[in-house]
């Protein structure tokens, strides 16, 4: 199947807030009303029962990130997932965050 047939022909996400490392988590229990998810979306919901980032979802689904993002937009709109944006690190990031990364690498 061509990837974009999964997205109803759309090639651009309606939301720009999915980066490669945006964390996605399925809402459990799912909202009572709403459309039944299509098979690929069901696969996504299964994979993000625990928090997972967009790039990992794409790798596990063997789909391009751009396609996964479109599917995630629909799931977000349907209230089936929550998203968490990556920590901002440009400019002057939180020194505690930098130290935590430093300490974590030191334990490798």
């Amino acid at each position: 199947m061509r990837p974009f047939t999964l997205t109803g022909g759309r090639t651009r996400p309606s939301r720009a807030d999915f980066t490669l490392i945006t964390t996605v988590t399925a809402v459990d229990p799912p909202p009572e009303h709403g459309p039944r998810p299509q098979p690929e979306q069901t696969r996504i919901l299964r994979l993000c029962a625990r928090p997972v980032v967009v790039a990992e979802l794409a790798a596990h689904l063997d789909l391009p990130v751009s396609v996964v993002v479109i599917l995630l937009c629909d799931l977000l709109e349907a209230g089936r997932i929550t998203v968490r944006q990556p920590r901002p690190v440009s400019g002057s990031p939180d020194p505690n965050l930098l130290q935590k990364v430093r300490d974590g690498l030191g334990r490798l």
Partner: protein, 195 residues
């Protein structure tokens, strides 16, 4: 950002940060990702058309079957609440339009340099310099051998004095770890200078 951080999920999502591993084609980027990652490197492939490339841009590409660009990445869990992702950037220059997205929100970059052909990483260095993205240079020795001292490499690549140059072996975990630590130390030092 609409829809972000809505209802609290059952399992709190950890914070995610990323570091880029860049450098010329075949310099050992995926090897380095694999050396420090807790998982075997994962791969995503993006069709060039989906990434917004004009069809005309495919003219002159010697292998027209190469219509996807692959991105290899790995993961290091720092703690329950923090995960570091390492992305190996596509080596071919014609895929650089992908880099802007990749570089956005990165903690910084490691530019790997092949000791036998250091200039193939020059464009990557230029990319991060122009965008003011903090980076360190890791000189990947062929079979772990380092015929040149770091200062000679620095000179060959016209690197400013504040860019750390480390000799490394992309196959060795400890060696790659030290390069990553040098990058984070550079960020910590820079943060200390900002009031």
């Amino acid at each position: 950002m609409a829809g972000s951080d809505t209802a609290a999920p059952a399992v709190p999502a950890p914070d995610a940060v990323k570091i880029l591993i860049a450098g010329g084609f075949g310099v050992g980027k995926t090897t380095m990702v694999g050396s420090v990652s807790e998982i075997a490197p994962l791969r995503t492939e993006e069709p060039l058309t989906a990434a917004g490339l004009d069809v005309d841009d495919l003219d002159g590409i010697e292998d027209k079957k190469a219509t996807t660009v692959a991105l290899d990445f790995g993961r290091i869990t720092i703690g329950d609440d923090l995960v570091l992702y390492l992305f190996g950037t596509p080596g071919q220059q014609r895929f650089w339009f992908m880099w802007n997205d990749l570089a956005l929100g990165a903690l910084g970059a490691v530019v790997l340099v092949d000791v036998r052909r250091p200039r193939t990483s020059f464009a990557a260095i230029d990319f991060f310099e122009r965008r003011g993205i903090p980076f360190v240079v890791g000189v990947n020795g062929f079979h772990g051998e380092h015929p040149y001292p770091p200062e000679e490499i620095r000179e060959a690549l016209s690197l400013p004095a504040d860019v750390p140059v480390l000799l490394c072996d992309a196959r060795e975990r400890a060696s790659c770890r030290d390069v990553l630590i040098a990058l984070v130390d550079r960020r910590i030092a820079a943060a200390g200078r900002v009031p």
